[in-house]
Symmetry: C2
Subunit: 342 residues, 2 copies
């Protein structure tokens, strides 16, 4: 597997090549690989790669070995549901194919990882199409964190919408929150937009409300790390404050996410586990201390935006306006029908 | 004049000693001296020091020389009104005392600077007293930027309130926004609270809304750089977003400021000039680039919070509940009476 080490951007485009799932697990943990959909894809490849290193001789032991791999990958980050969803798909492959023939199992796991990867690219395209259609003309879009090609297997979710709107000549400008503490906006989204030649402006997260007050934002579009059954959304910390500010200014607030990000098993957002990040991410920069020693830090990686602040959920299947338990249930049964029909 | 270079905190407590007003002007510009009240105090001392270096022989030339000094100091930063207010007081001293006797003028300017400094310390005490009285018991206070001893001539405005509440055993905990881009929360407020042994937690600005959602904030207390006649407040960028989030969660939002920060000549907040900061403050850290080269940046130093989001304005004269053009006019006439009575 080859992946771009995103911690090195924008200074260096460093590609890591590995066949060791532990390198992948560690890359997910330290955010070298990040973004809910991409974490799922990388974890799926991780299981497939591990099967090639699995030298056990009987089916039971091969199963145990792969279970250990899945547990390690599942333990990397707690919030994005795509990780668990992708690992569940690989676990289902192991049950279905069985471990009697290791070469067949290996190929099946590789095929499934590639399928997850391809499906994600298709979901991004569909999200981009649905989202760009509902944006106004000459749109000025504010986005937070990075929900672009770097975070997915395709053109991105929120950035997929932005990119398609740009291609349709509906987009005027993008405003990018720098996204503290790890600066995914400054480092990653800015880098992607620059590659795409889409005009953008970078701002500190705390200037977003003032930008709205000045009438410069026609819509907010963000990604998601996990969506609950009632439409509540866990996404990069700062999303919730943006949603409140958007509501205050009567600006539409859109969440763009593939259906793989929806966790129908979770009733509401408050049940989503929220990862806490290390205090050093806030108190140090490149080893230079910017806070007194020993300071206590509150640094959740994500926050939860209640569904009633969300204008629409832009999924690959459809646009869910006013997401709530009812409208999300409609989406759920639509997905169940589609999967039965397949 | 001796001042602490605040850009070096928290790593080093570096004192600068100077009798050159240009060093003071430059220190204000680069935020080595910062905080609306402190800028005013420093500028007043700057004019006094300049008079000692003024070697002109006649009153007209001395006047011209001091006018040049005042213009230089006034040109350092545009938003905080205390700067212009303090310079106006020194200008009034020059008119009143005249420049016929340079020794008398020098002493008068020094006396006025000391008076401005002392009055500010008294105003902080009064603000602290008024503010701590209205806080609930076991208060958990969220603050933004630094409105402490470092920003004033006394115990601070917002931090003065916090400090007095702590002494009255009404305070449980302080939450400190790191305050991008220049990290006045991490570097300065955290440093002050540590010195005072007041328990606090640091957070990224964009986590404040989530903290409120979790019920951890009983009130927000911030300072101000300029208050308009109608009660609109210019303060460090991010204040407006906090005020919206506080309103959304029905959390009281207090602005603590001396009356010297009120600009009755300005009708509403939209007329307050807002300083834009250099893009490098956002795109670089200690010379390391964290964004692609050439990126366009929106980095206002301040934002404007409309008065209707402010629960009360805590001034040294009184607490103005529901600040608006009428309630502020009452404060104005009260101040005019007090000044006539003096």
């Amino acid at each position: 597997m080859r992946f771009l080490d995103q911690t090195k951007l924008p200074a260096r485009e460093e590609i890591v090549e590995t066949s060791d799932y532990r390198i992948i697990a560690e890359a997910i943990k330290r955010l070298a690989i990040r973004g809910a959909p991409l974490i799922g894809i990388a974890a799926a490849y991780g299981v497939a790669l591990a099967a090639f290193h699995c030298a056990e001789q009987n089916a039971k032991r091969i199963n145990d070995c792969l279970e250990k791999v899945i547990a390690t990958l599942a333990g990397t980050r707690p919030t994005a549901v795509n990780l668990f969803w992708a690992l569940e798909r690989q676990r289902a492959v192991v049950s279905r194919v069985g471990a009697d023939s290791l070469p067949i199992l290996r190929q099946s796991l590789v095929d499934e990882a590639i399928a997850i990867h391809r499906e994600d690219a298709e979901m991004c395209e569909a999200i981009g199409k649905h989202g760009s259609e509902i944006l106004p003309h000459a749109a000025t879009i504010l986005t937070h964190c990075n929900a672009g090609a770097l975070a997915t297997g395709g053109i991105g979710t929120a950035l997929g919408v932005i990119r398609m709107a740009w291609e349709m000549k509906k987009l005027k400008h993008v405003y990018v929150d720098e996204t503290r503490p790890l600066l995914q906006g400054s480092r990653l989204t800015a880098w992607e937009l620059q590659q795409l030649d889409i005009p953008y402006t970078l701002l500190p997260d705390n200037a977003a409300a003032f930008l709205m007050q000045r009438g410069l934002v026609s819509a907010v579009v963000v990604g998601a790390d996990r969506v609950a059954h009632n439409g509540d959304v866990a996404n990069k910390v700062g999303t919730y404050g943006l949603a409140i500010a958007a509501r205050h200014h009567r600006i539409p607030f859109y969440v763009a996410a593939p259906v793989s990000t929806i966790d129908f098993a979770i009733t509401r957002g408050s049940e989503i586990p929220i990862e806490q990040r290390r205090s050093e991410e806030l108190t140090e920069f490149n080893g230079v201390s910017v806070a007194p020693p020993g300071v206590e830090v509150y640094s959740p990686a994500f926050d939860v935006t209640p569904h009633d602040l969300i204008t629409a959920m832009i999924t690959n299947a459809s646009v869910v306006w006013n997401p709530n338990a009812e409208s999300m249930a409609v989406l759920k049964s639509k997905l169940a029908q589609a999967s039965t029909g397949r």
